[in-house]
Amino acid sequence: MSFRGHTSVASRSYRAFEATAPVDRASAARPTSASGCDNRDMPDSARFARQIVLPGFGDAAQDRLTASRVLVVGAGGLGSTVIPTIAGAGVGTIGIVDDDVVETSNLHRQLVHGTDDVGRRKVDSAADRVRELAPDATVVRHPERLTAANIEEILSGYDLVVDGSDNFPTRYLVNDATTLADLPSVWGAVSQYGGQVGVSWASRGPQYRDLFPTPPPPGSVLSCAVGGVLPTTVGVIGSLMATEVIKIITGVGDPLVGRVTVFDGLSGGFRELAYGADPDARPVTELIDYDAFCGIAPADAATTISAEDLASRLDDVTLVDVREPWEAAIASLPGAVLLPLGELPSRLDEIDTSRPAVVYCHRGIRSASAREHLEENGIDAVHLDGGIDAWSRLVDPSIVRY
């Protein structure tokens, strides 16, 4: 590949982004500054002096940042690091996609949101922060979930995508849509004490599917909600993602195409893994049903109960909580018997079978396993779709989400 193997900073600038970042289109949409002075083609030289002076950077690189339009998918932990960083660096247009609201359990790592933002839409909170840091930037809020139906229209307004989402269907969706549009996608992900970061860019090298061709079975990979996450991992990985964004836009350096950087917070070390195209991969030709692709089946009425339905018959069922005691201490449904999933097989006799059993957990993954176990042992049961988290969202907001 043409951008690999060079040594000097200047020669490593492969100028590829010029083709995908038309200056005129982006700058035409830029507003005038608060003073009324139209400065759209003149980045504030004092504000950006410390990066303009960098070898191989200069005014040309800063102009490219001003003209660029970056879509950040997810205003969670990674978005919290990426969004203010690229705003500070001078990216001219920042789009933010997120359909979630700020939760108290987000605040330890999602530093773009403050305590007063709990309950607000994440796109609003993050957009406020961008305006503080970069009053000249254009912020576009997309308070919705990315889907196969809306992603192509949303992507049409951007030159580069940052994927800091928190689920596999969105990751494969973003990969496929950016591959079809040949947009660079900077992706990052965290788990517990570590993280990974890479760049997918169809015309330049391998993509996310070449590294992870098959999504993991649902529930087999820990989410932050279940497995926990050290807050600094999103700072480290988010900063690396923002670095890739700046490099790709300005043409400085070698983007992480065909390489993944893996961070381990416990050892304090980074390792790199190089990868190439998957020879068995089928080319991406269209968007698909990503929930189905990732094995997430629509709720089955025979085995699940919705939060709303459960609310209407709460007094007529035996409620079994298969979470851990520390989780039950944070939030519980009234009248539930606590039987952690690992102890369930040896404590089946504690379940009152005189009424229909409803099993629940945090988000409906463990309860699905528990329900199957009960069925195998002759106990009829359904499980709560989406767990206590769905209960809090749909029935009783006073139940703490975690």
Binding site: G79, L211, V221, S223, G276, A277
Partner: protein
């Protein structure tokens, strides 16, 4: 590329490294992806089996889903992360 019985360097990332208790080792006497998977599960048990069920197995940087594939000089075991 590799002959039967040759050795391969296996690099473990994230949960694979936790399961193995080390980041890298040389394993002798395995010729195919399937043989190496079996050795890893035998050696490191259930935790490694879980990683192999959801993670990627890259032979000299190319992902492999085919157990009959011959090994090369290096294998990387990388679990996917979803968290953001």
């Amino acid at each position: 590329m590799a002959e039967a019985g040759s050795s391969v360097v296996v690099r473990y990332f994230a949960a694979a490294s936790e399961a193995a208790g080390l980041e890298e080792e040389r394993i002798e006497g395995t010729a195919t992806v399937g043989e190496l998977r079996a050795v890893l599960v035998e050696r490191y048990g259930e935790a490694m089996a879980r990683v192999l069920a959801s993670g990627s197995f890259l032979v000299d940087g190319v992902v492999s889903r085919d157990d009959s594939r011959a090994l090369g000089a290096r294998v990387d075991v990388l679990p996917p992360f979803a968290g953001g």
